[in-house]
Point group: C2
């Protein structure tokens, strides 16, 4: 079946020019760009006055962070013109190990959006992390046989690279030997340390939050992934990268983006629109999101409207406004007017399904579990910084005589991180400031990167109820007040993902949001988002793990009480 | 051993910026670019006021056309800043088959210039060619295991691609499956045929002689190799490619360049200097010759001054004039002030040496062999076009009563192409116009692409002497006059390459030139160059093969006499 796109304007991503040519498609591939006519085709699609450009590629995304299965995510992404994503299944791998990677490959097979996979490089993230699995080089390398596996995922363990840790270096070497790339993740690294990190063959970075940081990396040969997600937004800071001589070494990524945000504002398309609103060229944005993303990853035959390329094509009603009216994936229409067309969800084998659906293994909690025995000295308290993932270390005099230290007047809540993979009974316990909860408790199985059970509460009984409920439903987000579950979102897939549609997940999320704000959480705080990063001991300054508080800057466990 | 380049200006090929940074090198690699000091290094090289840039990459060259072994070629190339070449050993493969490829790999091992190999795709070039070997896909694919083999060489058989010839398609598929690229060669192809050719996954083209031809290919996704060699010179026609939005999709190549030309004018550096003299940016030229060449071939870790990259570094006394004072290859100085430093030539195994040194296998010739029995009609005569590889078909009334048709007054000479690989006794015989020889004969074993023995003469006895001498010395160029050999260049390696230095080859070549011009050859003719292409039945219009005359446009053998 030959399909002809006739009378459109083509965005040529190799040159940035607009061409007036017809495009001929057969068997999912573009076979001609030029003076083709109706007699060449079985079907003719007259797009007079419209533009066509290649489908967008999100160069770095964590599917788990959308709480959607790949197929459900695809439905909302393709509606916004994304025909490929590069996903690092780091979260599910921390819970389910290699089975998690296998699951994500299987759950993204034969859907109308290509899901490339980067192998999680740092499972567990740190030695403080009690994750569900440990992934060594020998657990990973056989995955490189998959053509959808493009390399080793964001190498957060930059100290390991700089110190030439043999386990880390072997993972890098395996990727390179397989002809694959290694994604970087080294915020704030500069100078000599950065040189050493890059020297090991790290392709790119998506953590640049300042133009100076980005330019140092770009000049040293890394591709810059301009990240604009739901939480982390670097586009405005990095806007000068849209100009030459920098733009051709940059691509666009979302990293973490919530379903409601995607549905409402868009995906990669929204980054391009925002850059355009800030005065930059739409065509430059399209180039970043297409051919340059392909180049960054060494992908051949995707990311351009050219002979031999995949017929992943967007029809645009307007180029300036990037209004996407139709999306074609390998020559088949998969979305129209912002609505994905129906497709069958992938089948998952029973073994793999079982592995990801039964990830919780922990004791039942009681209110007593959260009791802290007072000692001399101030308490190291985690201080939330609104809008950021970093936390402050605060020192508080805690009055244990009332509520065992919980003091909603001073916004001092209890926080617990409970090991939930191997039933060790390990639990870190302490205080947190900056959330604003006046009563009740919230609990979640989404807590980077080990995804243990995290509970924050103004009431120990409610904390136990919330925590037990998350365990009972195999993972999720739960809000409890006055002994009652008042909202929840079930995330049965590894405790990270729902099996529902984006619309339902967004609706559940909205309900939960309403409930937590009613319980007193400050409007500027996104409690589940903040909570999810409070246990990640690679982002400064003070974090809570199953083993207790971690001083991130010094990379050591510290006691709750200080002299 | 750590070497520091201090106080230089760095040409950053990622951005085109000039940076004032120090560069630290260890174990052949650049390990740091920045604020490094003397205490970081064992050796400090103060290059105050000088520039450094990455070593140049010639993206397409036939080593055999230089008549030098790879090591000898390296000596004159590195002196001009070329630290890597991508060579298609198409010529030696036509003579020696897979042994020829093996020989070129062995003969370029561990020399101070990286020789990447593209596998010859079209051996023999056409069905009219009686080459020394036939290379099928199964003869080639195991070579892809070599990291120096980057893909399938220039795919001249574009009709085979367009018609989806199964042998051709298998060769392409093998290259792609191995993760390698396929070089193009499709002059004048346009529109639908070009789309089909490119659709099969052809990476680039080096045959563009007009800007329109180049732009069509570039817009359709091919890399454009701007060729500027000794004979074929496309730089001036393609000069607009040095501007955006085109320059970043272009690289520089020489294709065929003679040793004297390299020694006198330079190699890739001379292309950049010429572009600069024509008003284009030296930095753009450097980018084409370095990082872009690496990108075109998917090479990692070469072509930039950046951490983790090979320390292939040029020290420039002047950027504007591209004056190269020192050349470093993997951190070792290999050339200084235009002179390569000493290195050991590679050792070749006896078997491989034997295979390439004994390539001649043909009968002894006598003057009678060149006798033509007259028939009715005019004679199809090859008409040389000065400065070009194409020929015209001329129709002459030949007077066979004198000298069996040779008529130096009308510049009608005899031409013979003698099969010399398998002793078949096949010989094509006819007439040629436009050389100017007044007496004697010239003979050569360099005759594209099959490299049979080609002889042009004003005297049949001299033709036999010249031909027999070429056979006797195992290949070469020979000039005979009055029954005596008056000049010769021995090319014992497959009849294509000398085992002498570039200086000696150039001197021999000069001697031969003097002799042939004394014999009457027109000043505007390069007789051995023209002769070498007179037997190539893929370039229009009329060519001579061992099977007789070929009408190239109609791709058929035609008789000498026409109605």
């Amino acid at each position: 079946m030959r399909l002809l796109f006739k009378n459109g304007f083509i965005v040529n991503v190799f040159t940035g020019e607009i061409e007036t040519q017809n495009v001929l498609i057969e068997d999912g591939l573009i076979i001609g760009v030029g003076n083709y006519g109706e007699s060449d085709a079985d079907e003719v699609h007259d797009i007079t006055g419209k533009y066509i450009c290649p489908g967008f590629i999100d160069g770095h995304i964590h599917i788990e962070s959308t709480m959607l299965l790949p197929a459900e995510l695809a439905k909302i992404c393709i509606a916004h013109g994304t025909t490929a994503i590069v996903a690092d299944p780091h979260e599910i791998a921390n819970v389910c190990g290699a089975d998690g990677i296998r699951f994500m490959l299987a759950a993204s097979e034969n859907i109308p959006m290509t899901v490339y996979i980067m192998l999680p490089s740092c499972v567990p993230a740190t030695s403080f992390d009690e994750a569900g699995a440990v992934l060594e080089a020998e657990d990973l390398y056989s995955f490189y046989n998959s053509h959808r596996v493009l390399g080793l995922g964001e190498l957060m363990n930059y100290p390991g690279v700089i110190e030439e840790n043999e386990h880390v270096m072997r993972k890098i070497r395996d990727a390179h030997v397989a002809g694959k790339i290694v994604n970087g993740h080294a915020p704030m690294l500069t100078g000599r340390d950065l040189d050493k990190y890059i020297s090991s063959g790290i392709n790119d970075d998506h953590e640049c939050s300042s133009i100076d940081e980005a330019l140092e990396r770009l000049r040293k040969g890394q591709w810059i992934m301009i990240r604009e997600g739901t939480a982390a937004r670097n586009l405005e800071s990095l806007l000068p990268l849209f100009d030459e001589p920098y733009s051709h070494r940059c691509i666009l990524v979302t990293d973490d983006k919530h379903p409601a945000d995607i549905m409402e504002n868009g995906h990669i398309d929204s980054i391009i629109r925002k850059a355009s609103a800030l005065g930059k060229s739409v065509i430059t944005g399209i180039q970043m999101a297409t051919i340059q993303a392909a180049q960054c990853f060494g992908l051949k035959g995707v990311g351009a409207i050219a002979p031999g390329y995949a017929a992943n094509i967007l029809v645009l009603d307007s180029l300036d406004k990037l209004q996407i009216s139709e999306v074609y994936y390998y020559g088949s229409k998969v979305s129209e007017n912002g609505e994905a067309l129906y497709f069958d969800n992938p089948q998952i084998s029973n073994d793999l399904g079982e592995s990801v659906l039964s990830s919780f293994n922990m004791p039942i909690l009681s209110a007593d579990c959260f009791h802290i025995t007072p000692e001399e000295g101030k308490c190291r308290t985690i201080g939330i910084v609104p809008g950021q993932l970093i936390t402050e270390e605060l020192l508080y005099d805690i009055d244990f005589s009332k509520n065992n230290g919980i003091d909603t007047e001073r916004d001092i809540l209890k926080i617990a991180v409970v090991e939930r993979h191997h039933n060790t009974g390990h639990m870190g316990l302490g205080f947190i400031h900056g959330i604003g909860l006046k009563k009740g408790a919230i609990a979640s199985s989404v807590s980077h990167d080990s995804h243990n059970l995290i509970i924050i509460g103004a009431d120990e009984e409610d904390m136990s109820i919330a925590g037990n409920r998350v365990s009972e439903i195999g993972g999720g987000n739960v809000v409890v007040s006055g002994g009652k579950i008042i909202a929840e979102m079930q995330l049965p897939v590894a405790g990270l993902m729902s099996d529902l549609s984006a619309e339902m997940v967004a609706a559940q999320n909205e309900k939960i949001r309403e409930c937590v704000y009613e319980l007193g959480v400050y409007p500027e705080i996104k409690p589940f988002m903040n909570m999810a990063f409070v246990s990640l001991p690679v982002i400064p300054s003070l974090k809570m793990t199953t083993l207790g508080l971690v001083d991130v800057n010094n990379q050591k466990l510290v006691p709750l009480f200080t002299d």
